[in-house]
């Protein structure tokens, strides 16, 4: 069963991925070990997702990231937190994030 994502947790991008903006799209690609990965096994983020990704730098927990995003988007914090938890869940499933603690 998937672990519950807590807003106090701090995440960083896994060292097993590379990412870059390509032709207006933000792409995250797993570094292949040769097992099971296929060429279309990459993850594409929209503008909000990219912003969340850029803030997962090991200094902010998810709650802090949500509060920073309120400045950019005129939506209630609960909705932003829900979006963040959803995205983090997806990225964890793909092993693209690494948990480094909580604060």
């Amino acid at each position: 069963m998937a672990k519950k994502i807590k807003l106090e947790t701090v995440y960083v991008p896994s060292e097993d991925v590379v990412s870059r903006e390509l032709e207006g799209e933000f792409i995250i690609i797993p570094i292949a070990s040769g097992i099971g990965e296929s060429d279309d096994d990459f993850f594409s983020l929209n503008k909000t997702g990219r912003l969340i990704w850029s803030k997962m730098n090991g200094r902010n927990n998810l709650k802090e990231i949500a509060h920073e995003l309120i400045k950019e988007f005129d939506v209630p914090v609960e909705i932003i937190e829900k979006d963040i938890v959803g995205l983090v869940g997806e990225l964890l499933k793909k092993k693209m994030l690494r948990e480094i603690g909580a604060k």
């Binding site: 570094i31 990965e37 296929s38």
Partner: protein
């Protein structure tokens, strides 16, 4: 009508000469290339160190069996040197020497060579190569003036009986047709392909963009899979239709294994075939497909329909319907959604094939693979067990079964299956690769490296072998060794972004950030190019 006899090409396996004896009544000529030291070739096939000496043996054996020995000079581009006097003199001297040893015939692409050989070696038979691309009477007459005795027609006109007949009548020469070449009709890459191969004998360079020669046809097939039916091959059951227009029948076999040559030759001798067309057609681009059910093609009057086709596609939809009924595309060339549909289609087509051939082990294995792809493991296992009941040494069954245990995270069982398979097939690079892969997932990196190196030594050098070797060393903290293995892989797979991305990780670990960034740029460039092609074509 007399019995049809065929021309076979040498695959550089000396055992093929035994087949010449076995099928001497069915083979009229045997062709083999002039050594690379004299001229390039239309194929990138290693000739081996002893080939120069082998040629005398081949000629002797052919003459003993009363099979015409033919030397190929089919390079389409000899660069700056090709028309040099000294360059050609070496070729001519060699041909004269071979003629005195019993060489009866040469197959030549360069029209100037045709003319010079005719002047200098009067008694040798000269055939125009299929790489002369003869599609008209006029062209054939020019070649006749230059001195050819036999015209090989361009395979693109294989189904134009009246034109072939006219070429034969107007020239008065003998006509040779290519039977089983699997290249696209009007292929846009053809001239470039042959010119490139002629000049790059065994020295493939890093190529422009994401172009690799074998993937060129796939680019066409991704957009138009139905074009596979435009390949102008001559099916075994239709060879007799050519008796009134052709004299010689050439099988394209230089890139086939000896086993496959015998299979293909038998299909044409019997003039009947019902299996997978890919078993008899020759073209690396056909790797785009997994199966083409010729029995279904015949049922739908394929040859008659296609021969009358005016190629105004979009009207009758015949080919598109046939793709759905008879053709399975290799899922490696498809995106994930399309793969699921193709696997579902594969199960239907293979199940139908099994009804006609219930003892065909390979079909049981193909069905099990499709079920595995669809994550229906129980059904997959059922078919594997059926295959093993028919043949306990079916290597594919062990590989598929082992992969199943790997996917179920049961590394111990997977290792046991692969080790059992290695006892049956101790030289299989493929099994060593799977064993290495399992050790890797089990975090046994030292054992994984040993198995993967053994796979490479057994000539199993897939991209995954290099990635796994690189990963094993990377996981064990041996970054320089990892970089070395990945660099070796990059020589064979210059357009694979995955290699660069793994290099990024290694260079970062040893603090070479600048080099890591360079690899990152290279990786994303390759990724983008591949995605652009797949996006356009899927």
């Amino acid at each position: 009508m007399g019995e049809i006899r065929f021309s076979l090409g040498y695959n550089h396996d000396f055992k093929l000469l035994d087949l010449l004896g076995k099928y001497r009544e069915n083979i009229e000529s045997f062709y083999f290339p002039i050594p690379y030291r004299y001229l390039g070739s239309g194929r990138l096939i290693p000739q081996g160190e002893g080939y120069y000496e082998e040629i005398n043996e081949i000629i002797k054996k052919c003459n003993f069996l009363k099979i015409r020995p033919q030397m190929l000079l089919n390079a389409t581009n000899d660069g700056n040197f090709g028309l040099g006097k000294n360059y050609f003199s070496r070729i001519l001297d060699y041909l004269q020497e071979m003629e005195s040893s019993g060489l009866k015939s040469v197959i030549v692409a360069n029209p100037i060579y045709i003319s010079e050989i005719r002047k200098q070696i009067k008694s040798i038979e000269i055939e125009s190569s299929v790489n002369c691309y003869v599609k008209t009477v006029e062209h054939a007459l020019y070649l006749k003036d230059l001195g050819v005795d036999v015209i090989t027609i361009d395979r693109d006109i294989n189904r134009e009986f009246s034109l072939i007949s006219k070429i034969r009548l107007k020239t008065g020469l003998k006509i040779k047709v290519m039977l089983n070449e699997g290249c696209l009709r009007n292929c846009p890459f053809r001239n470039m392909h042959y010119n490139f191969l002629s000049l790059n004998v065994l020295k493939p360079k890093k190529l422009l963009g994401d172009i690799s020669l074998d993937s060129l046809c796939s680019r066409v097939y991704l957009r138009h899979p139905e074009k596979v039916f435009s390949i102008p091959f001559i099916p075994p059951d239709t060879v007799s239709l050519y008796a009134s227009v052709a004299d010689y029948y050439k099988l394209s076999t230089r890139a086939f294994s000896t086993q496959k040559i015998e299979f293909c030759l038998n299909a044409y001798i019997k003039q009947d075939f019902n299996g997978d067309l890919l078993e008899i057609l020759d073209c690396p681009g056909l790797a785009h497909f997994n199966y083409i059910d010729y029995a279904v093609l015949k049922k739908h009057n394929f040859f008659s329909k296609i021969s009358k086709c005016d190629n105004d596609c979009g009207e009758c939809n015949y080919c598109n319907k046939l793709i759905k009924k008879a053709v399975i595309i290799n899922s490696n060339y498809l995106n994930s959604d399309a793969r699921v549909k193709e696997d579902e289609k594969a199960i239907k087509i293979y199940s139908r094939v099994l009804k006609a051939s219930p003892k065909e082990v390979s079909i049981y294995l193909r069905i099990s693979t499709a079920y595995f792809n669809l994550k229906k493991e129980k059904r997959a296992l059922k078919y594997i067990n059926r295959a093993l009941r028919l043949n306990s040494k079916a290597i594919g069954a062990y590989l598929i079964l082992g992969a199943y245990y790997e996917r179920s995270n049961n590394a111990m069982k997977a290792l046991a299956v692969y080790k059992k398979a290695l006892r049956l097939f101790p030289h299989s690079g493929e099994i060593y690769f799977f064993l290495g892969r399992t050790y890797f997932s089990y975090k046994k990196y030292k054992e994984a490296v040993e198995s993967l190196k053994e796979a490479l030594r057994s000539n199993y050098n897939s991209l995954e072998v290099y990635l796994l070797l690189g990963s094993c060393y990377e996981k064990s903290g041996q970054y320089k060794k990892s970089i070395n293995e990945l660099r070796s892989g990059e020589i064979t797979y210059p357009n694979e972004a995955k290699i660069n991305f793994l290099l990024v990780k290694c260079y970062r670990k040893i603090g070479q950030v600048g080099q890591a960034n360079k690899e990152l740029d290279n990786g994303f460039r390759k990724f983008l190019e591949k995605r652009r092609i797949n996006g356009e074509e899927n």
